[in-house]
């Protein structure tokens, strides 16, 4: 009796610890499984962004493939007419490319000097209070929906421009480009300012110690040192201008026009896509496929600029 009791008492701790041990193992095991599953789910979420890119490339290429079966790629690249919806159809992307080029050029003519000067001013000259006020306002400016800029270009800027140039039509690449330029200023100024702020203080102090003024330092020390970052800002600005849709769709008119004159209305790649999407072309028709061919062109252009911008930005981040 006593011995069994003793045995039982002896057995208790081992039973307990054995149970606890295996329990702990089981607990650890289930915990590890749970950790793995969660990591897997998080990984899938991150990898889904790669799927998006694949999706874009797949859709653009497969639909364009159908298009290029019907239209030779040489005609697409060299024809000087864009009349895909007419009986006598021509598919010359150059016409749309011209519109995109002119509006983007006008926009950059505004955005590059303005953005750079604002960035230099904010980073090197402005007092703390001006900067604290200006930066959020510029951010707000970047948050205005593009359709509102389009409205502004058509019904506010165009009439003002017509006052100065009486021959200017109601729709023109000039007014769309100017407003697009204003729209891009915040992007260029904030990206360039980031690059300028990344220039180490010691460089500026060295310049001041040599007797240089603020302006000399800004122009001859800060700007060259931040050059790759500023260039990246310009390039991302170009890519934004090329891909901008609503401003040109509303204010530049939508008729294809093979011209380099900003005083005329013209269609761009993006506004053509909008125009077709607003109508009801049957799925699978050649007219429907043109927007994917146009979209592929647009995607490739912006991709090239984005990659260039990415490389430049990486360079300035590494250099200090």
């Amino acid at each position: 009796m006593a011995s069994t009791l003793e045995a039982q008492i002896k057995a208790v701790p081992t039973v307990l610890t054995e149970g606890r041990e295996s329990g702990r193992l089981a607990f650890k095991f289930s915990r590890n499984i749970k950790e793995r599953i969660i990591e897997g789910l998080l990984f899938l979420a991150a990898a889904s962004s790669v799927l998006t890119t694949f999706g874009i490339v797949y859709i653009l290429v497969s639909e364009s493939w159908q298009f290029f079966k019907a239209v030779p790629i040489t005609a697409f690249l060299t024809d000087t007419q864009w009349t895909p919806l007419f009986a006598d159809a021509h598919y010359g992307i150059l016409v749309l490319l011209c519109g995109t080029l002119v509006t983007s050029f006008v926009a950059l003519l505004v955005a590059v000097p303005m953005g750079t000067i604002i960035a230099l001013y904010l980073s090197e000259f402005a007092s703390f209070r001006v900067r604290e006020f200006a930066k959020p306002v510029l951010e707000l400016l970047a948050g205005v929906p593009t359709v509102i800029y389009g409205f502004f270009a058509l019904l506010f800027v165009s009439p003002i421009l017509q006052f100065f140039f009486p021959n200017l039509p109601g729709f023109s690449m000039l007014s769309a480009g100017l407003v697009m330029g204003i729209m891009i200023v915040p992007y260029i100024s904030s990206l360039s300012e980031d690059a300028m702020r990344a220039v180490p203080m010691a460089l500026r102090e060295g310049s001041y110690a040599m007797g240089a003024t603020r302006f000399q330092t800004a122009l001859k020390v800060v700007t060259p040192a931040a050059f790759s970052g500023i260039a990246a800002a310009y390039i991302l600005g170009v890519s934004r201008a090329v891909g901008e849709t609503m401003v040109v769709a509303i204010a530049a008119g939508m008729q294809p026009n093979f011209t380099l004159n900003p005083m005329e209305p013209a269609a761009t790649i993006t506004s053509y896509i909008v125009q077709v999407a607003l109508g009801d072309l049957p799925h699978g028709s050649i007219g429907y496929q043109t927007i994917f061919a146009a979209g592929l062109t647009l995607f490739l252009i912006t991709l090239a600029f984005n990659i260039l911008g990415y490389i430049l930005r990486r360079k300035y981040k590494e250099s200090y």
Partner: protein, 311 residues
């Protein structure tokens, strides 16, 4: 003789310095003027919108469907559509964006695939929005057969703002010092426990900032929604998500046709009649007040955050 020469040199140097300083002043003035010009344009835009649109703003404007008569037209279907599309967008973009951000900051090993994901995200942020529209048209509308519905539009905008949320999540997580994680590990917490109990709560305000900015961008986005073929004239509402009989909710609204605020505004802007343009201005005013207040809230949140957090 020597002192006269010295004085001459000194005054020449002083003139040189004065000249160099004039450039300083001139550039300061130019910079300030450019900045002021930018802000002036912004103000002009707001005032123009307010002057031409304020007269149309009334309760009826929010409660009426679009109509052929400009005076009776309203934005009911547009704002309801915007709200529904935003629900879908938020439901997809927030979990995916935050999860991807957490993975890249906390879990990802430094290997080629992580690099691919990172380059890919920074590239996606630069893809023009209309290209997302083409993706959605080909994939969601036709291949998946979702049609020109609330679901297609919401998913499109979710893809569009995903990079914004991912980047905001990562930046917010990156600012949490390593000692927080080490403290948690030292107490026996696993990686996920550390992430869910410490990292996520501490980075929440930063993530929220990114989410708000992303949603405010999505609410004003027009081009991709036009591309998937949203109708511009909708005089009905999608079925209500909440019903009076059990199970009290349905998902029919996801498959419904719709219109959104920016498309309604675009439609009115492209009409030649002045009365419709006044409607466009009023719709624009509502839209701009919505996006600006969302943005302002996000900026305020970030500034507060910077002030308050001291690790």
């Amino acid at each position: 003789m020597a002192t006269a020469e010295l004085n001459r040199d000194l005054s020449a140097i002083r003139r040189l310095i004065a000249k160099a300083k004039r450039y300083d002043l001139a550039f300061s003035a130019v910079g300030f003027l450019f900045l002021a010009f930018g802000i002036l344009v912004f103000t002009a835009l707001l005032v123009d919108m307010a002057v031409s649109g304020a007269g149309r703003l009334s309760l009826d404007f929010f409660a009426n469907f679009p109509s052929r008569r400009a005076e009776g037209a309203g934005i009911l279907s547009a704002w309801v559509g915007s709200v529904m599309v935003m629900l879908v967008t938020a439901a997809f973009a927030i979990p995916f964006g935050v999860a991807a951000g957490v993975y890249l900051e906390e879990y990802a090993r430094k290997n080629w695939f992580t690099d691919v994901i990172e380059i890919n995200i920074s590239n996606l942020a630069g893809v023009p929005s209309i290209v997302y529209g083409l993706l959605a048209l080909g994939l969601f509308v036709y291949q998946f057969g979702f049609g020109q519905s609330v679901l297609s539009a919401g998913l499109t905008l979710a893809l569009l703002i995903l990079p914004i949320i991912i980047v905001a999540t990562r930046e917010s997580i990156r600012s949490i010092p390593q000692i927080i994680r080490e403290g948690s590990y030292a107490l026996g917490a696993t990686k996920w426990q550390t992430t869910s109990h410490h990292i996520l709560p501490y980075s929440l305000p930063g993530i929220l900032t990114g989410v708000i900015i992303g949603l405010s961008r999505a609410i004003g986005e027009t081009a991709p929604i036009i591309t998937i073929g949203a109708l511009t004239f909708i005089a009905f509402l999608p079925p209500s998500p909440i019903t009076s009989s059990p199970p009290y909710f349905n998902f029919e609204w996801l498959a419904s046709g719709f219109t959104v605020m920016p498309i309604q505004m675009f439609n009115w802007t492209s009409r030649p009649e002045e009365a419709f343009q006044a409607n466009a201005a009023a719709a624009g005013l509502v839209l701009i007040v919505m996006t600006l207040s969302m943005n302002a809230f996000a900026i305020y949140l970030r500034y507060r955050l910077r002030k308050n957090i001291k690790w």
